[in-house]
């Protein structure tokens, strides 16, 4: 993790010196100062009362009592549809990248779960093959996260996946709302850049404020309603000890809509397609894809190793719950507990339900006897 972050944003060793205190007014002033130099994305209230993260022109637009956006913040880095490059087909192939803006982008108020989701995506996009389209945008970004003093929805379960409501790492700055004022954790050099650009006077947090944060952490834990224990399900999935009937049952329910994968902050699958602007120039475009679509795994021969929705659900659960994947991803869970799948899945086949059912009815008979 350290290695990667030195590229995306140098991690600062955490101690109490990195925690500062800021009044609400000061934060707004800081944001105003930052906005002259950087693009700021912040929560805005939509006409339907929903929270949307979008680029703001003035701090007045910010929706302070926001929940979280159903649409994940990964869209700022791995866009749902993104043109990658233009090519000409006149005799020889000639590729041309689209110009990239050099302005820094601040994601203000991003929730802990989304931050953790990005941490996971960072690994995916820089592990073996470096995906510059993603990494370029990540390098230019500053994540100013907002710790959830109270989880915004009853569908939240980040407490089960070690990805919230308060974070220890992954953010550039983390804001904790203490009521009268904010405590700010400085996570990385990029976070410091933000404070510098915001012309913030650094006042270290005192004992009292730090103690209050600890209290808030404890209080937040009480609010979680969807809490479920992942550990046992992870053991069962990793050891391939889940009975077939349960996967069949999941497969029978799943209607392969792809909503869970599209909304998941950690799902990174994409497809590319080429289209012609005119007779001479074409564009390669990247688009979100989903492992729940049958076409995703179909081979050129027509054979599909995961032709049935049962196999696709199983595959996704392995990716989210198996230790094999945790091992190669810095022990990060494959799920951040944002609860988006709980909201979105039309057939209630969300991760907490799957985990619960694997725990309760998943064991193969032989295993039950052993237990």
């Amino acid at each position: 993790m350290e290695v990667l972050h030195s590229k995306i944003g140098e991690v600062i060793k955490m101690d109490s010196k990195n925690k500062i205190i800021l009044s609400k007014h000061e934060l707004i002033t800081a944001l105003k100062n930052v906005m002259t130099k950087m693009d700021v994305v912040a929560p805005v209230k939509g006409s339907e009362g929903e929270t949307h993260f979008q680029k703001i022109e003035s701090t007045e637009e910010i929706f302070w009592k926001y929940t979280h956006d159903l649409y994940p913040s990964k869209n700022f880095f791995l866009k749902q549809e993104e043109d990658l490059f233009r090519f000409s087909v006149n005799g020889k192939i000639d590729l041309k990248e689209f110009p990239v803006s050099q302005r820094k982008i601040v994601i203000f108020g991003i929730r802990s779960c989304d931050v953790k989701g990005l941490e996971y995506s960072d690994l995916f996009f820089s592990n073996t093959y470096k995906d510059n389209y993603y990494l370029e945008k990540r390098k230019r970004s500053i994540l100013v996260s907002m710790a959830c003093v109270k989880p915004p929805f009853d569908t939240c379960f980040c407490i089960c996946t070690n990805s919230g409501p308060f974070l220890e790492s992954g953010f550039d700055l983390q804001i904790v709302d203490l009521g009268e004022q904010y405590l700010i954790d400085i996570g990385t050099k990029k976070g410091e850049d933000f404070l510098k650009a915001g012309k913030v006077k650094l006042v270290n947090a005192g004992e009292k404020e730090l103690a209050r944060v600890e209290e808030l952490k404890k209080e937040a834990d009480v609010y979680f309603e969807t809490a479920t224990y992942f550990a046992k399900a992870i053991v069962q999935v990793t050891g391939n000890k889940v009975k077939r009937e349960l996967w069949e049952d999941f497969g029978e329910a799943c209607i392969s809509c792809g909503s869970c994968t599209h909304l998941c902050p950690m799902c990174t699958c994409f497809d590319v397609y080429d289209w012609m602007e005119d007779g001479n120039y074409g564009v390669r475009t990247r688009i979100w894809d989903s492992c729940h679509y049958a076409g995703y795994t179909r081979e050129a021969s027509g054979h599909n190793p995961r032709g049935e929705s049962e196999e696709r659900v199983k595959r996704r659960c392995y990716h989210k719950l198996s230790y094999q994947y945790m091992k190669i991803n810095n022990n990060l869970h494959g799920c951040v507990g944002c609860g988006r799948c709980v909201i979105a899945c039309p057939v209630s086949l969300d991760i907490p339900t799957i985990v619960k059912r694997i725990r309760r009815e998943g064991l193969i008979k032989k295993e039950i006897e052993k237990v």
Partner: protein, 647 residues
């Protein structure tokens, strides 16, 4: 990038969808947590709908066919060409020589204006929808009263039933939101009964699953009706019971191949005083006994107090019907005879008295060279009508054909003029979903290339006909609609913008649906297999293939789902034919032939071949026949018998 709330154009569910426009294209789509129909999700169609809107293969400019090839033209030239073409026919033949097909995909305002244009300026009541080839057949007489009925409040009520009986439908594929709600009901412990020749989603979770021989649905229903009538005292019912004696165990088991004991179970459960729901779709109504089948279903519903829903349908099929895109009805199912004066007064123009031709009859007339010109808006009739060859002949017989669409469709190939229209992301308006929720469609990006919204095109045509149109603003048109249609009286853009649309009052208004007397005739499977054509062919909608593929084939993700149609066969039949999955077979019917790869599916009834409907390559309508329902003169198209040849 700011998301604009609109309504998904994928199917009749009417899901709320945020569209994010950037650089003249739709860059993202997102669901809406609090939308009553979609509740935070979209199906595969919804998630990928932007790809079709963004497609670079959209029609870019008006095209005029000169010397057999299409040449680009300006809008002025094209409109002038269209007006002259229609005027020529009008002068010689009058409005009778022209037919108009409206669209289930365009907005209410556009359908209404099209209807008005057809009746007043083209002087014809020959206006209809391609939906007539599907479930919407029932919307016409005499079921119209019932059809728009209170059956449609599906969104949450659907989950609350205790018994769900699905016959000839595949809800998870046709209307994913409905499928999802059935599953939730299943989790609650609902009893599910299914009668369908091919396995459908949730089949494993059902109480009774009967695979009937295709076409025998009418027999199955009448048999259940007979079991329900058993022991009733009413004289009329007794009489009917005696007539239905025909549908006894021996007869029904032979006809449909289902177990009579299982049918008894279904009938017993339907008699119970719990919340019941019957769902049907094209599987039931696609043969020539469609009116009998639906009638019997209605009878069952009346006797048992069940609700009945019909599935399927495109994003605005209900809206299109309610806007009067029907030969005999104006908006809101008001018949021409009753309200002609009211409309003539409001429009300040007159229109013909007689009921026009439906789409099926239009094709008939074209084949006889009596229909000279057609104006087809947003429909791909070559693909969606049964018996493709016949449709093609009909269209090539026409003297003048205008097609208005967003893509170059198979139908557009036959046109003299093609007018490029805009997609739903490029205009304002409203859609009415299956449950009767009128919702806003909002303009997110400018019309792509040189396309124009249908409303704008109609306006240009009106001007071409020498009229000064009153307005082409959707708000004003909706005002006109609501002043003329009692059930749309509460619909206004102010109201629509307040929440998630306005529910239109149901035409049924609590009245008992009108049921025809059960026709006392011996009903048997329409086309029976013989030595020459030993297999049944069945077709069905599949989720990633909608609006006759014109839209979905331009999305790389949807197209990838099934790059080509497949002929599904039972392993037993495959063995007999000596074919394996992936091998090509030639499917031959009395009307045409089709070459497709085989897919072996143990869940399909032996002796049956399944081909997906309206598919990009391998459209099953090449094979299907255009048989006519005796009573309603409507097409029963869905199935036929075929022969298979190994290649």
């Amino acid at each position: 990038m700011k998301g604009i709330l609109s309504t998904c154009g994928g199917c009749g569910c009417g899901c709320g969808i945020y569209l994010y426009g950037e650089e003249g294209r739709i860059k993202s789509v997102a669901p809406l947590r609090i939308h009553p129909a979609s509740k935070g999700n979209l199906c595969m169609k919804g998630w990928n709908i932007h790809q079709s809107i963004n497609s670079s293969e959209r029609l870019k400019k008006p095209l005029i066919k000169r010397n057999g090839t299409f040449q680009e033209a300006t809008w002025e030239e094209a409109i002038d060409f269209v007006v002259k073409g229609f005027k020529k026919i009008l002068k010689r033949e009058g409005g009778k020589g022209i037919g108009v097909i409206g669209s289930q995909k365009i907005t209410n305002e556009e359908n209404y204006s099209l209807m008005k244009f057809a009746r007043t300026l083209l002087e014809t009541n020959n206006i209809d929808l391609c939906g007539r080839f599907y479930c919407f057949s029932l919307q016409s007489e005499p079921f119209n009263v019932f059809y728009g009925g209170s059956i449609y409040d599906y969104t949450d009520e659907l989950q609350e039933n205790d018994i769900v009986f699905i016959i000839g439908a595949n809800p998870a594929e046709e209307n994913p939101q409905i499928g999802a709600r059935i599953l939730k009901a299943l989790r609650r412990g609902v009893k599910l009964f299914i009668v369908n020749p091919r396995e459908i989603k949730f089949g494993l979770l059902s109480e009774v699953y009967l695979k009937n021989i295709p076409g025998s649905e009418i027999g199955v229903i009448n048999s259940i009706l007979r079991l329900i009538l058993e022991g009733r005292e009413d004289t009329e019912e007794k009489e009917l019971f005696e007539f239905l004696e025909l549908y006894n165990q021996k007869f029904i088991e032979e006809l449909s191949g289902v177990n009579f004991e299982e049918l008894k179970k279904i009938a017993e459960d339907l008699k119970k005083p719990v919340k019941k729901l019957i769902l049907f779709s094209s599987g039931l109504v696609s043969n020539e006994f469609l009116s009998d089948s639906v009638n019997s279903i209605l009878y069952i519903a009346k006797l048992t107090g069940s609700k009945v829903y019909s599935l399927g349908g495109q994003n605005n099929f209900r809206g299109a019907v309610e806007m009067g895109v029907q030969p005999g009805y104006l908006t809101d199912y008001q018949s021409i005879a009753e309200v002609k004066k009211k409309f003539e007064k409001a429009w300040g123009r007159s229109f013909p008295d007689e009921v026009g031709l439906n789409v099926f009859e239009m094709l008939e007339e074209a084949l006889k060279y009596t229909l000279k010109g057609m104006y087809i808006v947003g429909e791909n009739i070559v693909v969606s009508a049964p018996d493709t060859d016949r449709t093609k002949r009909a269209l090539s017989n026409l003297e003048f054909l205008v097609v208005q669409d967003i893509f170059m469709s198979e139908t557009a190939q036959f046109a003299d003029v093609i007018l490029p229209a805009s997609s739903f992301a490029e205009k304002d308006g409203t859609f009415t979903n299956l449950e009767g929720r009128v919702q806003r469609v909002r303009k997110v990006i400018e019309p792509r290339f040189e396309s124009k919204p249908d409303l704008h095109i109609l306006n240009l045509l009106e001007v071409g006909f020498g009229r000064t149109p009153k307005s082409d603003v959707p708000t004003k048109i909706m005002k006109e609609i609501s002043s003329l249609s009692p059930h749309y009286k509460n619909v206004s853009y102010e109201e629509l913008d307040k929440g998630f649309g306005v529910m239109v009052d149901f035409p049924l208004d609590g009245k008992v649906p009108k049921i025809l007397p059960i026709e006392k005739r011996y009903v048997k499977t329409p086309e029976s297999p013989d030595i020459e054509y030993p297999y049944y062919l069945i077709t069905e909608n599949i989720v990633f293939c909608h609006t006759s593929s014109t839209f979905s084939k331009h999305s790389s993700i949807l197209r990838r789902e099934l790059p080509r149609g497949e002929a599904e066969l039972n392993p037993k039949d495959a063995r007999e034919l000596d074919v394996r999955t992936g091998q090509m077979v030639k499917i031959i019917s009395r009307r045409g032939e089709l070459i497709l790869p085989v897919k072996i599916n143990p869940e399909i009834l032996a002796g049956t071949v399944f081909v997906p409907l309206n598919f990009i390559s391998g459209n099953s309508n090449i094979l299907t026949g255009a048989k006519v329902d005796m009573r309603l003169k409507l097409a029963g198209w869905k199935f036929c018998t075929v022969r298979l040849e190994k290649l």
